[in-house]
Amino acid sequence: MNARRETLRGWGFAAPALIWTALLFVVPFAVMGAMSLAVLDGRTLIWGLHFDNYAALTEKAYLLRAIFVSLEITVTVTVVSILLAYPLAWVIAFHVPPRWQRLVLLLTILPFWTSYVVRSYAWLLVLAREGVVNTALTGLGLTAEPVTLASTRFATVTGFVHFFVMLLTLTIYANLIQLSPNYRRAAMDLGASAFQTFRHVILPLTLPGIMTGAFLTFVLCIGDYITPQILGGNNELTVPQVIMVQLGRRADFPLASALAIVLMAIVTLAYLGFARWLRLDRV
């Protein structure tokens, strides 16, 4: 009696959130799935089991190109961000006095809180032909003419790396700070040089942190519309950009849905690839 009442009460509390998620997340998701199997005939939407949209991916070069562009950019961003963030996290964890570490960390990620749109815009300013970087380059005499930096893949990658270095510094730092200082001491005690200590002990033990951050970076980067749109110019488009194009010009929801599903599939594959490290390791 009492147990039954309790369970009912539990359901009562859980219901609003569950209903919200079911109606406003699961259902739209299902609709999108169905939509990806639909077809646009002029202005009319025809439901059914059409695989035309998915076939288009192999037929239309620009769609396939977009997938490759997205992957290339995302992998580059992930690798570069890790290479820049790891030493930064290391310096904060092991060289900054413990009292100041929280503050330095906070300062490192403070620019997180410029609006995402605003931050990409700011990079546009920095990399513009008349912007600070070019002014510095021509001013110092390193180049004769301003270099085209904005509206290129370089700008997109820079914008992304800027964001993800902050994120990765956080995750890698959290991992580093957790390690008992005795691991380093024991390694050194047994004759390891600083580099050997890093290679054989610290790096393996921080791999979970790196991989978690890398996965997060991969997923967020590949699904992002803003940064490539503001900084990338129009010479090559990423998958999110192509999706938005389908929505805007032709209101081609079916194709947009199919592309979205493909994006999700890529993310799922990435998850399976990273799954090993995403489980909590025993340290």
Partner: protein, 257 residues
């Protein structure tokens, strides 16, 4: 030289990280017409300009309204769900938890796209309400996760003690559970507000005439580079940072005592 290497690297990275923010704020005071070098004198006219811009001020207000209300809804729903799953034995609890967390795993673009299609089919007009709904969808998992993780055994015992002393369910929740979890609830709320405040793609897809600030900024971008955008960006930055500092003081100060 070797000893200085870590500090040089730190300085170099900080320069990289603060370059856009620095440029943003510096050139918001630009007296000239373009937010690029050289600095032609300092002036506050762009701030005056945007603060009198009807559309921007409206967008800012809209952002605040959407952020606070969607944050509030997300927190209440998240709290109730956390309370349900942490304090009651429900069949398939693991599945339910997974369902509630699921939206976190999907790109915001896809969440927005799905909702857009549903709204279209149902003939529901796009507005701040629809954007708010979308924000609740993405913030609910976060609120749930944060609050669920904070509901520990010691809280359970306090609740038992309250029931033992004669409190009914509503009283237990309102007078015991909520106050005990205040830090987590507030943290979840502020996090949701910050995320909603800054969110672009869902707001972009799901609003039409009344827009939020990020969308309005996006619209302004169409007209090219201008110190006006710098001024807007600087204000947005200031507001966000303040919220974070408030969060830091509220949550971490509390935890220390």
């Amino acid at each position: 030289m070797m000893r200085l290497l870590p500090w040089l690297y730190l300085a170099a990275m900080f320069t990289f990280i603060y370059l856009p923010v620095g440029v943003l704020v510096l050139f918001s005071f630009q007296d000239g017409g373009l937010p690029v070098p050289p600095v032609e004198g300092l002036s506050l006219r762009w701030y005056a300009d945007i603060l009198t811009d009807r559309r921007l001020v409206d967008a800012l207000t809209n952002s605040l309204i959407v952020a606070i209300s969607s944050g509030a809804v997300a927190v209440v729903l998240g709290f109730c769900a956390a309370y349900a799953l942490a304090r009651h034995v429900l069949p398939g609890a693991a599945l339910l938890r997974g369902l509630l967390i699921a939206p976190l795993t999907v790109s915001y673009l896809i969440v927005g796209l799905g909702l857009l299609m549903v709204m279209n089919r149902l003939g529901i007009g796009l507005s701040l309400w629809t954007a708010g709904i979308g924000h609740v969808v993405i913030n609910l998992p976060i609120c749930f996760a944060i609050i669920y993780a904070s509901m520990g055994a010691q809280h359970k015992n306090a609740e038992r003690a309250a029931r033992d002393l004669g409190a009914n369910e509503a009283q237990v929740v309102l007078l015991v559970t909520v106050p005990m979890l205040a830090p987590a609830i507030l943290a979840a709320f502020f996090l949701s507000v910050t995320l909603s405040w800054d969110e672009f793609i869902i707001a972009f897809l799901l609003t039409r005439f009344d827009v939020t600030l990020p969308v309005e900024i996006w619209n302004l971008l169409r007209s090219g580079l201008s110190p006006r955008l710098n001024a807007v960006g600087s204000i947005v930055f200031l507001v966000s940072v303040t919220t974070v500092l408030v969060l830091e003081l509220l949550v971490f100060r509390r935890r220390r005592s």
